[in-house]
C-alpha cells in the first residue's frame, strides 16, 4: 500500500508568546516542531505499513528548513520524504496549499493519504479536505480508528458532535486524524542515522506541473491580515449563593435559554 502522510512544520505554540503591544505572535527564537496532529497521522501510516506492507512517504510544503521536519519523519519510520519548496508557493492559503500538495501526491502515487486534523498555528483544518477534493477522492475527517478490511476497503471511526460513527470507504482515500487514534512512537536510532544521510531535493512548481495561478499568493483567494489576541470581554460575572440543587437547576435553565445546551 502506498501511503502519503502530509506533515507541516510549525512553531511550538506552547512556547509562543504574544507581543502585548501589537497583540501578535512573537515567532523569533521559537523552536519548530512537526505539527502534533501530523505525528499521529505518521504513526498511523507506519502502523498500516507494518500490518499490510507498502511504503510511507512524508510530504511537506515549506521553506528549506522544513527539511528538518522530514528528517524527523524518516527517523520515526517514514521510508522517504518529499519537500515542496519554491518561492512561487509562498503566501499560499489553504486552497493553494491543498492544490500544491494534491499535485505532488498525484506525482508520487498513492492508495492512502493521512493528514493531521489541523495545524496548531493555522487551526483551519481545511487542507486535508481541500486536497481530497482536488484529487477527487473520498475523505473522512477527525478519525479515531482506521482499519483495512479484507475487501481492501477502509473502515474508519469518525468523531461527531455527539459521539462516533463508523464508515466504510473505498480507496484511494484521504483521512484526517485526531489524537485519540494512537500514541506516536519515539524515533529509532537506525531511523535517525538513515535520516541524517538523506538530502531532500526540493520539488518546485515545475516538478509537479502546477498551474501558476493556482499556487502561492496568486492562488490564494484569502489572505491573513492580522493574527491577534482578542481583548477579553469586560462583563461582570454573577455569583449565586444558596442551595446547590436550586442553583444547578437555575444554571441549566440559563444555559438552555442561551442555547448552549
Amino acid at each position: 500500500m502506498r501511503i502519503i502522510v502530509c506533515i507541516k512544520q510549525v512553531p511550538d505554540t506552547a512556547e509562543v508568546k504574544i507581543n502585548r503591544e501589537t497583540n501578535t505572535l512573537i515567532r523569533e527564537g521559537v523552536p519548530s516542531i512537526i505539527n502534533p496532529f501530523d505525528l499521529h497521522a505518521l504513526e498511523e501510516g507506519i502502523r498500516i505499513r507494518e500490518k499490510h506492507g507498502g511504503t510511507v512517504t512524508a510530504l511537506t510544503m515549506g521553506p528549506a528548513q522544513a527539511g528538518e521536519a522530514l528528517r524527523e519523519a524518516v527517523a520515526l519510520g517514514a521510508d522517504d520524504a518529499v519537500l515542496l519548496s519554491d518561492r512561487a508557493f509562498a503566501g499560499a492559503d489553504t486552497l493553494a496549499t491543498a492544490y500544491t500538495l494534491a499535485k505532488a501526491a498525484e506525482k508520487i502515487g498513492f492508495d492512502l493519504i493521512l493528514c493531521g486534523r489541523q495545524a496548531i498555528d493555522g487551526d483551519t483544518a481545511q487542507v486535508g479536505p481541500g486536497m481530497a477534493e482536488c484529487l477527487a477522492i473520498p475523505h473522512v475527517t477527525c478519525i479515531r480508528r482506521l482499519a483495512v478490511t479484507e475487501t481492501e476497503k477502509f473502515r474508519v471511526e469518525r468523531m461527531t458532535d455527539d459521539g462516533y460513527e463508523t464508515l466504510e470507504v473505498k480507496g484511494p482515500a484521504l483521512f484526517t486524524v485526531i489524537r485519540e487514534i494512537n500514541t506516536p512512537r519515539l524515533p529509532s536510532l537506525r531511523g535517525m542515522l538513515r535520516a541524517k544521510k538523506m538530502a531532500f531535493e526540493p520539488w518546485t512548481a515545475a516538478t509537479i506541473n502546477a498551474e501558476a495561478e493556482r499556487i502561492g499568493l496568486s492562488g490564494s483567494p484569502t489572505w491573513v491580515v492580522k493574527v491577534f489576541n482578542p481583548p477579553l470581554p469586560d462583563g461582570q460575572g454573577e455569583v449565586w449563593q444558596g442551595d446547590s440543587a436550586e442553583n444547578a437547576a437555575k444554571l441549566i435553565a440559563v444555559l438552555r435559554e442561551r442555547q448552549f445546551v
Partner: protein
C-alpha cells in the same frame, strides 16, 4: 563540560534522554514500590534500537561500543537505575558471545538480542562463590554430544526473564582455575528452572533470582569458547562491562544532585533559600566536582576500550570503583540536603541512595576492584 561526542553519539544520548525523561521517570517510583519488571519500557528501548548499541553491524547492531553503552546507561540511570541494570545485564550476556562466540553461535543468538526481541543474562555467582569466583560448584559433565549441567547460580540479574544465559560451570574440577567453561543455555531447556525472585534494597525494578540446573542437558555446540577458558571469558567480559556500571553510577549521582539542587533553591528556611547557605553550597560543589571527575574517568576508560586497546583491566576497574563510590557519597549527601523530605518515599532521592549501594558491590566488589588495580600497577612496574 564538553566531551566532544560525535554527532552519532549525541543523537544516541538525546534519544536515551528522551526515553528516560518521557517514559521512565514518570513511573520509576511505582516500578520501585511494586518491584515491577519493566517489560514495556524494554520494548520502547528495543523499538528505538537501544539494544543494538552493543552489537557490531554484521549481526544487526549499530556498533557503538563501550562509549555508546555508557551514554545510554548514564541517561537511563538518571531516571531509574533498576531499568538501567536490566538493560546492562542483557549487554553483560551479549558480551561473551561477541568476544568468544563462533560464527554459528553469533549468527544464532545475536540478531534477536540486538533487536531486543530476546534478553540475555550472565551467570557466574553462586552461594559459595562471590568474590571468590573460582570457588564455583556448578558442574558441566561431558556426555556424548551433550553436556549435563548441575548446580545453582545465585543473584542473577534478569534471572527468569532472560531468554539466553551465559553460564560458567566446572568442566574439570582438578584443573582449578583452568577447569571452568562457559556455556549458552536457553530458557525452557528441560532441567533449567528458576528460584525465587530476590527482595532487594534497591534496583527493585530489576529481576534477580537463582538459576537451578538439575541434569540439564545442552548440546555440545553450546560450549562458548574453548573448554577450560571459563574464567577468561568471565574476566574479559567484566573488563568490558565495568565502565557501564561506572556510567550507571554517574547517572544515579547526577540525577540525585539535580533533585537536591532544585530543592535547595526552593526550600526556604531562616528567610532564605537553603541554597544560599555555604554549608549547602559546599556540599553541592563537592558533589558536582566528584560527578564530573567520575564521568571523565568513565568516558576515558570507555574510549580507551573502543580504541582497540589489548589490556584495560586497570582502567575499567578504576572507572567502576571511583564512580560507584561517588554515587554512594553523592546520594547520601542529596538525602542530607533535602533533610526530612529526602528521607520520605514521596521524593526520589532515598530510592537513588538505595540504588547506588549495589554499584559498589556487583560486577566485582570495590575491594576486588582495588585488588585488580593494584595487581595491574605492580605488573606494569615489574615490566619497567
Amino acid at each position: 563540560m564538553d566531551y566532544f561526542l560525535t554527532e552519532e553519539q549525541q543523537m544516541l544520548r538525546e534519544l536515551a534522554r528522551t526515553i528516560a525523561v518521557e517514559k521512565i521517570a514518570p513511573i520509576a517510583a511505582e516500578l520501585d514500590e511494586k518491584e515491577i519488571f519493566p517489560r514495556e519500557l524494554l520494548q520502547v528501548m528495543a523499538d528505538s534500537d537501544l539494544f543494538r548499541v552493543f552489537v557490531p553491524e554484521e549481526y544487526g547492531g549499530l556498533g557503538m561500543g563501550a562509549m555508546g553503552n555508557c551514554l545510554v546507561m548514564e541517561e537511563i540511570s538518571k531516571a531509574c537505575a533498576g531499568v538501567a541494570v536490566t538493560y546492562a545485564a542483557s549487554g553483560l550476556g551479549i558480551c561473551p558471545l561477541l568476544l568468544f562466540g563462533s560464527e554459528e553461535q553469533k549468527e544464532k543468538y545475536l540478531p534477536a538480542l540486538a533487536s531486543g526481541e530476546k534478553l540475555a543474562a550472565f551467570a557466574l555467582t553462586e552461594a559459595e562463590a562471590g568474590s571468590d569466583a573460582a570457588n564455583i560448584r556448578t558442574t558441566a559433565t561431558a556426555d556424548g554430544d551433550e553436556f549435563i549441567l548441575n548446580g545453582t547460580k545465585q543473584w542473577i540479574t534478569n534471572g527468569g526473564e532472560a531468554d539466553v544465559y551465559i553460564v560458567i560451570a566446572m568442566t574439570d574440577k582438578a584443573k582449578g582455575v583452568r577447569g571452568a567453561s562457559a556455556f549458552i543455555v536457553e530458557k525452557g531447556t528441560p532441567g533449567f528452572s528458576f528460584g525465587k525472585k530476590e527482595k532487594k534494597m534497591g534496583i527493585r525494578a530489576s529481576a534477580t533470582s537463582e538459576l537451578i540446573f538439575e541434569d540439564c542437558r545442552i548440546p555440545r555446540e553450546n560450549l562458548l569458547g574453548r573448554r577450560g577458558t571459563g574464567y577468561i571469558v568471565a574476566m574479559r567480559t567484566l573488563d568490558r562491562t565495568r565502565p557501564g556500571v561506572g556510567a550507571q553510577a554517574v547517572g544515579i549521582a547526577q540525577g540525585a544532585m539535580e533533585v537536591a539542587l532544585r530543592y535547595a533553591r526552593e526550600r526556604v528556611q531562616f528567610g532564605q533559600p537553603i541554597s544560599s547557605f555555604q554549608a549547602i553550597q559546599h556540599m553541592l560543589a563537592d558533589m558536582a566536582t566528584q560527578i564530573e571527575a567520575a564521568r571523565a574517568l568513565v568516558y576515558s576508560a570507555a574510549r580507551f576500550i573502543d580504541s582497540g586497546a589489548k589490556e584495560f583491566s586497570k582502567e575499567a576497574s578504576m572507572a567502576k570503583l571511583f564512580a560507584s563510590d561517588t554515587a554512594m557519597k553523592v546520594t547520601v549527601d542529596a538525602v542530607q540536603i533535602m533533610g526530612g523530605s529526602g528521607y520520605m518515599r514521596d521524593y526520589p532521592v532515598e530510592k537513588m541512595m538505595r540504588d547506588a549501594k549495589i554499584t559498589q558491590i556487583y560486577e566485582g566488589t570495590n575491594q576486588i576492584q582495588r585488588n585488580v588495580i593494584a595487581l595491574e600497577l605492580i605488573k606494569e612496574s615489574v615490566k619497567q
